[in-house]
Symmetry: C2
Subunit: 192 residues, 2 copies
Amino acid sequence: MPRAGLGSASVTEAAATLADEIGFDQLSMGLLAERLGVKTPSLYKHVDNLADLTHRIAVLAMVELGDAVRDATQGRAGSDALAAAAQAMRAYVKEHPGRYAAGNSAEPTGPDDPLIPAATRLLGSLSAVLRGYQLQPSEEVHALRMLRSMLHGFATIEVSGGFQFDTDVDESFTWMVNLIDHGLQSLSQTDR
Amino acid sequence: MPRAGLGSASVTEAAATLADEIGFDQLSMGLLAERLGVKTPSLYKHVDNLADLTHRIAVLAMVELGDAVRDATQGRAGSDALAAAAQAMRAYVKEHPGRYAAGNSAEPTGPDDPLIPAATRLLGSLSAVLRGYQLQPSEEVHALRMLRSMLHGFATIEVSGGFQFDTDVDESFTWMVNLIDHGLQSLSQTDR
DNA sequence: AGGGTTGGCTAAGTAGATTAGCTTTTTACC
DNA sequence: GGTAAAAAGCTAATCTACTTAGCCAACCCT
């Protein structure tokens, strides 16, 4: 019996891709094994169990999303950076809905969980975008929470097919980002 | 053997309460049966299966949330109505996280699904709130999508424990709602 | 009182996750 | 090149949760 050449990383990657295709909640050890041309118990040589697998997908998602936002905002500032970050995040969720869902369902398992730095890095990138608006320090956390809420909410509703009307969703998204942009600009300390 | 006096409605209600307590994804037929003092198979006299049960919870959640938003906005308009609707929605999700999660995971099963009118009614209440801002008709859908995204995103992140910093979450919420309020006011047709 | 319906139960079937234990391949080192 | 340990696959078996079948008691209605 020849070997399949698997490893924790390749199994996680395959699972993430499968989750994107069939939906995170449909992911199972059996389906993943079939996809990899292997019997189900063999997966346990590379991953502790299903919870461990989904956690690894979550970490992967956070790292990738952090990279995407960072790359998109490189060399941009203010409104440009905000629009780029928002579009990058939305694009990632649309392309990788299963990974993103895994990321949302994950809880840190301990103080050394790699999920923590990954999430921190993503938040840092969003913070950097907001820094361009020169908000009062006391308002920075509020603005960050608002930005996260809006992007997360929009992306998850969109991916779940929740926007019914046939009005263009792209248009709604840029409209929303613009509204936030104007709101943040009006709070900018340089305006006062 | 005495009877437990159950019915579809009371089983659904108990399941919803249990989901709020232990988390929607921890809900199981076994735990629900135990809670009701009954053996697992007995539940199938009142509900088709687990999918049916969660769907009923989803409908219940949408109806309750629709009621809550409607009640909160009664007799209010403009900024007051927005703030009331937002607080009502956030309060509902905090009090009933399991029900709300069920609502999010639900898909209509057909054209006669009671989930559809329930969801429509909720969206209608939010639309009514926005109507007070006298937006251009072409912008109404965008504003509704933004409002939904923000409220849904904030509530789900908060309930999942995603807001880490110790800055007061209430404050962030009202800050966010205020920002949106100002943004919508500046778009009001009466201003131009 | 008595027949039909309802709602509970036990027993059994199914699917998915997981563990145990065996065998083969690969690797590392002599 | 040869061999022993580690790694990676497999089959078989276990456990848990959902679900179905079929039985019997309790309730309702006249």
